[in-house]
Amino acid sequence: MCGIAGLIYKNGSTSIGEDMARMLQSMKHRGPDSTGYALYRPPSDDWVMHVKLADVNAERDFEFEQRIRRNRGEVRRRLEAAGARVLETLDTSPHAMTVTFSFGGEDLKLLADRIEDIRGAEVLSLGHTLEIVKDIGDAATVAGDYGLARFKGTHGIGHVRMATESDVDISGAHPYWAYPFSDVAVVHNGQLTNYHQWRRRLERAGHRFQSECDSEIIAVYLAERMDDGDTLEEAMHRSLEELDGVFTYLAVTGDALGMAKDELAAKPLVLYEGDDVVALASEEIAIRAVLDREIETYDPYESEVMVWSR
């Protein structure tokens, strides 16, 4: 089933981590398997990279902990070898870490590829403002484990997953970062029926896929379109033609949040547009978790694309 939620504050940053956690926790019944957050902090010149060093289901052999410890150092070493200056590393969980670094180069793909060459490592997000946190468990558990209550930011999206087509693990959890494009992330509720076609097409163009999850192609698809010069809105409109299946998805960039719904309107989305905030969720109850009052909401119709900018 899965549940998705998005929140964008048009002026100023707020406790977006706590708000998203409340929204997602209220939709726990839509998917208790894993929870993911893509949160945007105010932009800075530094880069933030979230790295998963092992999946939760990875075999815990004798050398596991030693290897994880070694790989944490390896991430730092490889970043510096690629020309980045590491400013801070944070061990966010037993199997994940966050690195803040300054980097003057252009080639993010090279940077990400070098990190992902480390056994078991996956770059969950990379950008000036984007931070993706995802793990198994419900929204409150993940938010608590990763200390999201302290996160101040401007906008974010999140996802609660009921695993149907791939494993319950971190690589199957949303949101997906649009490797190798900075600051783009997607959450998706539905199924894509031309997934394999698109995956082959994008793989031929040199993109890598970390999971078996169909949602991952939306992120890469959009980012590639935007790299070709489309705006987020144009890319999302085009996706309605080119992606096949039932879907409602939310896409975010450093300064915008968009929603798209397939031509059957098969998956739910409720929308609230206030003066200073826009909130979207699979169910109104999630919006009410952050706006505890009567509000004007409605369901967008089929084939609708909407984008809000900050």
Binding site: E284, I287, D299, Y301, E302
Partner: protein, 264 residues
Amino acid sequence: MVSVDANGRTARMDARGLVELTDEVPNVSTIEDGRATFDAHDLTTRQINLELRSLVYEQGIRDVTVLNPGARHSLGVGILARCRITFEGSIGYFACGLIDGPEVHITGRVGWSACENMMSGVVVIDGNAGSLTGAAMRGGDLVVKGRVGARTGIDQKGGTIIVCGDAGANTAFMMQRGRQIILGNAGAGLGDSMYDGTLYVAGTVKSLGIDCVPGEWTDADSELIERKFRIYGLGNPPELQKFVCGKKLYNYDTLEPSERRIVL
């Protein structure tokens, strides 16, 4: 009520003999002149429904107002008595499904599948409604003052759905009986694969579904529209287009190869 099963275990039952889970009736209503009011803000979904059922079935209250329903799911489901229920606010999914008899007024909005399988009674929703509104509805009147999502009245088997705003795609999909009056515009695939029933649309229709065709207007149509508009205070009826089932799908018009040999 308490019942004892064959193994000596006890289970609490509600007034209709259905097993209740662990929650107790909260008993938080204020009752004045036979009208009950309670605030649902701090109650769970189950407690709200328990309170509602206790008031209607056990205390015989015929007028209940629920404050702050807070967009929660499955409120007011399965009420099988003549009574008046007002929700001061919005409800989530599955609002007032399976009801038989009540007159319900929802001052906010509802999520998906409101009044699913409604048997009789009246539901008036002041705001917007989600998709699948009035799915498999069998009787009664459902009035949505705002707009509705997709597939309104899918598999509808009776009753009347009135939508004052726009309706989404595949409205009246596989409708079998009953009526829908849409005062706004209808989305693509209106009345797709409908078996029977009548659709009235005041605005534009993006496209008709398979086997949905314009119908001939009769005096009975005018009488129905005027009566419903009068009852729900909707003013003067606008000019409406009527759509019915073309009945082409009732029979196959292509023959199996084996049949073709016999016929031709």
